[in-house]
Symmetry: C2
Subunit: 419 residues, 2 copies
């Protein structure tokens, strides 16, 4: 473990020096905190560095468009542009250099190999190819691994039936997507009289939703498809986002500390909590030139452990995956939704008297219902505005005036029935 | 031109020999016709080879799943799987080897360069990333060219507003998509009070629809965006599909004869027509190992010319692009739709007495309306079945019994009001 730590320490040191040299964003933050890369004498000194938040990144991009002053390569070296889905506000832009893109492919190939994927495999990629990083990371990793890809995508209306027929015909051996989408595919297959086990998936791996780390969902996917169910994923900003990933043992995501160094921290002090304790992951890139993240606060909730894994890897693990948020962001179908944005939209229609948001899970898919005290004429307008604002179609229920709960202090207008 | 012809002849000869050696599909067809690669003494001997049709490919894949017996590399060398969108029946599967994939990238980089795209450009890719080859060909070409890509995709509900904001913020210099989608983006931008000229697109290039070759649409796109409007595209089976492509002069698509050798032929005899005459393109790969197409009948309608182009390239050209079909396939929003499939779906609902399909162009987008003599209860069911069958949402109009035209002989149930 000492030589591992040396390796990680040296990569971390170089990464901090790179950010310090190239990025006013980090240099100003660190100078203000009275620290510099020299502060790092041991790995544990990393916790002396300030955390950064998504809000910091957004502000930096506003002041220094389009990539922010944490872009550490010349703009012309950016060869790919992606971004957040923009569901919690203005999308944050990811500018990725060619060198980083290749390293992302290498990292994902390593991790996919640990999930049991081999060059002889064919991977059905069932997540949208757009700003979203998930599907692109899998594609790049598969290319580096030498596996065959079937980059089908997702999210285009009417495609699921085609997906089912294609899977049945081509029998890809691996599946990537969200747990919700895998279960939706199973449902459509069953409606067509097929048994999802006959697809012959051997490895199914997931990100974008916590499902694959939730025991009941994991069991369901394994049972329905007769395959493995591998949980993966950190944050799009942290791409290679697969550095939280289960191995074939499926007993919690390993933290691949030599690619992205992760501390599970106290949500107030941002100091690492001991193994066995709960906290929020704070991520630090170790091999990123273009937009390195140094101590990015995830806001997610998990606990970590360092009990040995039968696979032999000595990375720490998140035995229960990521199972919550330290703030009030709700995750609907893999999108981080800030209820404040929904409220903002609803409040923009003045005839709505009161409202409530009910999040539920129906037929394996997240649904959100907006109950409003208003006349039914507003229905189409509200639906359209909500789709524009957060990209997800709501169910809208008109209720009688005065039937929704009122409060004198803090309202609870978001009811999450999935928990 | 002689040395050009020598180069093309030698590539063609090797391609025919490859197909003959590796593919029972071609060998059987050619033996039956009493020919072999030795038949090719000059370029014009190619017209002695039988044409192949999409139906031949479909049948071959049915008998020899999944790639057909025209796959000329071992299955394990296939690294990417794509396909037709399946709108004219069962999707045809494309299995592409690594070597071919790299050559496709090189070909597209050359052609995109002729369209004026440079490594310093940023390309917004606004077509779906799924089975569809268009967007993937652009992405691969851009990677080989060294340009920056913003692979946004298309087709996911609610995305256009995000696309407009992102284009406005990042100011990509090039746009790829369908002409319809570019005009839709302009419309949404104008609704938001933006002027599409302020986006600063310099090169806009298109495939998937004939629009960019239609003078009125070309003029409209140039005027609205203040950019070029470059027409491109042959068929997905022919990838690198950009081998029909305009240069910066924008006076008709060049046939890049040293990559894909194209003959514009009489639709009955399949012999080349003289320059200046109308016919249907028949395409032959010159550098494809995995699934080479030798004389694939497009069924499209065009005329070709060999008048010199100011750009200096001596390829023949399609001065008016591709402007029709020799059969009855209709192209709606870039999808090849066989009306027989629509009829099949409608006929599967026995309470429908008569029907008619009206294709129109509304707000720059193709629409199809199905008029049915039936009760309105069938509406949802019919809509759902049509989306499943052809992937496009219909408008459905219920009309009174007996109001639609009847015929004693050949019905004209497809009315295309766009012509």
């Amino acid at each position: 473990m000492d030589s591992d730590n040396n390796l990680i320490f040296n990569k971390l040191k170089s990464q901090l020096e790179w950010a310090w040299e190239k990025s006013p964003f980090y240099r100003e933050k660190w100078e203000k905190a009275g620290i510099s890369p020299d502060t790092l004498k041991t790995l544990s000194d990393l916790s002396k560095f300030p955390v950064i938040t998504k809000e910091d990144l957004r502000l930096s991009q506003k002041l220094h468009p389009p990539y922010g002053d944490y872009l550490c390569v010349p703009k012309k070296e950016v060869i790919r542009i992606h971004g957040t889905s923009g569901t919690t506000g203005t999308p944050t832009i990811f500018g990725i250099s060619k060198e980083d893109w290749e390293k992302i492919g290498e990292a994902h190939a390593r991790i996919m190999s640990a999930a049991g994927i081999r060059p002889s495999d064919t991977i059905f990629i069932g997540s949208p190819f757009s700003l979203y990083m998930g599907s692109w990371g899998v594609l790049k990793g598969a290319e580096h691994l030498g596996a065959t890809v079937l980059p089908f995508g997702a999210g285009i209306s009417g495609q699921t039936a085609i997906a089912v027929d294609l899977i049945n015909r081509l029998k890809p051996t691996c599946f990537y997507g969200t747990p919700s989408y895998a279960l939706r595919i199973a449902e459509v297959a069953q409606e067509k009289g097929m048994n999802p086990r006959d697809f012959g998936f051997r490895v199914m791996f997931f990100s974008g939703e916590p499902g694959a780390g939730i025991p009941s969902t994991k069991k369901k996917i394994r049972d329905i498809f007769g395959s493995s169910c591998i949980d993966m994923g950190s944050m799009a900003e942290m791409t290679p986002w697969m550095t939280n990933a289960e191995c074939q043992e499926e007993n919690g995501m390993h933290l691949w500390q030599d690619i992205v160094y992760t501390e599970v921290c106290d949500p107030q002090t941002f100091k690492p909590v001991p193994y066995g304790k709960e906290g929020t992951p704070i991520y630090t890139h170790l091999e990123r030139k273009s937009q390195p993240m140094i101590r990015l606060l995830s806001g997610d909730l998990t606990y970590w452990d360092n009990a040995p894994c039968p696979c032999g890897r000595n990375y720490p693990r998140l035995p229960k995956g990521i199972y919550g948020r330290i703030d009030n962001i709700v995750v609907i179908r893999g999108h981080n939704i800030n209820p404040a944005i929904i409220e903002d939209v609803i409040r923009s229609i003045p005839t709505i008297k009161e409202f409530r948001i009910i999040i539920s899970r129906e037929r394996e898919t997240d649904e959100y219902t907006v109950e409003v005290e208003a006349t039914k004429e507003i229905k189409d307008n509200l639906s359209k505005r909500l789709i524009e604002a957060i990209g997800l179609r709501p169910k809208i229920k008109i209720v009688k005036d005065g039937t929704l709960p009122r409060t004198e202090f803090k309202a609870k207008r978001v009811i999450d029935n999935r928990v």
